[in-house]
């Protein structure tokens, strides 16, 4: 026997750490790490409720597996975007990414740089 609120409180605290990381970090890769923390907090919730409800079809555990798959897809796409931003902006500091539009001509890119 274990109190249900132990894993739930652990998940809540991990989620809050993820919220803090997303808001406070400047490096885009670290923001992605904080998002991973938040996703894992949700997974812990799902597994805890699966164990509590004694689900014969294991909805919680299967949904956790699906969330892990979606997290893998998200991290792959996110890192591809981060690398693209690094190539075009020479840096992945998200505080400085004020110009993310896809422009064709050089003048517009230069103007945007001058405005910033």
């Amino acid at each position: 026997m274990m109190p249900l609120w132990w894993p739930l409180v652990l998940a809540c605290l991990l989620f809050s750490l993820g919220v803090y990381g997303v808001l406070a970090r400047r490096n885009a890769v670290q923001v992605l790490m904080a998002i991973e923390l938040m996703l894992n907090a949700v997974n812990l919730n799902l597994v805890a409720f699966d164990a509590y409800l004694r689900d014969v079809v294991h909805s919680g555990q299967v949904l956790t597996l699906f969330v892990i798959v979606i997290a893998a897809a998200e991290i792959g796409l996110g890192l591809a975007i981060v690398l693209l931003v690094f190539r075009t902006h020479a840096g992945i500091d998200i505080d400085e990414m004020t110009e993310l539009a896809d422009r064709d001509d050089v003048e517009a890119v230069k103007e945007a740089g001058a405005r910033v």
């Binding site: 809540c12 803090y20 923390l37 164990a51 892990i68 896809d102 050089v106």
Partner: protein, 184 residues
């Protein structure tokens, strides 16, 4: 009785490890250390899954998260030429606002969860263990349609990642190249 005690003790231990290393993930001044602390957090969470009778989920966590995702993150850090030493400016200047929002989230979530589930207990004495056999059986019988939809989503994400990272024909890339040439 003693088995319950050990399960509770181990869960407490894994939880504290996950929380401490999670705090280090979002506060440390070293980019690579932050990724490595994430390994500790995710590993401790895998231990929590094991204790909550989710055996297959725990090993998938070890394989996918510790094996693949963290390696991808480390690769991204290397490819973006992240400095390996300490950096003082990894957090923004409004980190106190962020800490306030995080604390507020924690207070709201923890208070609502504790008030809602204070007296509820998980019965782990005779659990329905999610072994690989049980979970695989369920995925390919009961949950086969979302499973197949997810495999298509994963394929789409992979194709998208490849299309993004090739990037040779993207107009923005060309513009940036031309800008490089004009500015020297």
């Amino acid at each position: 009785m003693s088995a319950t005690f050990w399960v509770q003790l181990l869960f407490m231990l894994f939880g504290l490890i996950a929380l401490g290393s999670g705090l280090l993930v979002v506060t440390t001044n070293n980019l690579v250390h932050s990724a490595l602390w994430l390994v500790v957090t995710l590993g401790a969470l895998a231990g929590c899954y094991l204790l909550l009778a989710a055996e297959f989920v725990a090993w998938v966590q070890v394989l996918i998260y510790l094996g693949a995702v963290v390696v991808l993150l480390l690769f991204a850090l290397m490819l973006t030429r992240a400095p390996t030493g300490k950096q003082p400016d990894l957090t923004t200047s409004n980190r106190w606002v962020a800490a306030g929002v995080g604390t507020l989230t924690a207070v709201v979530l923890v208070s609502s969860v504790v008030s809602g589930f204070r007296d509820v207990r998980i019965d782990l004495n005779d659990p329905l263990v999610g072994t690989a056999a049980v979970t695989g059986d369920l995925i390919f019988r009961r949950w086969v349609l979302p499973f197949e939809a997810l495999s298509v989503l994963l394929l789409a994400a992979l194709v998208g990642a490849i299309a993004l990272s090739r990037g040779t024909h993207a107009p923005a890339d060309d513009a940036a190249d031309r800008l490089d040439e004009t500015t020297g």
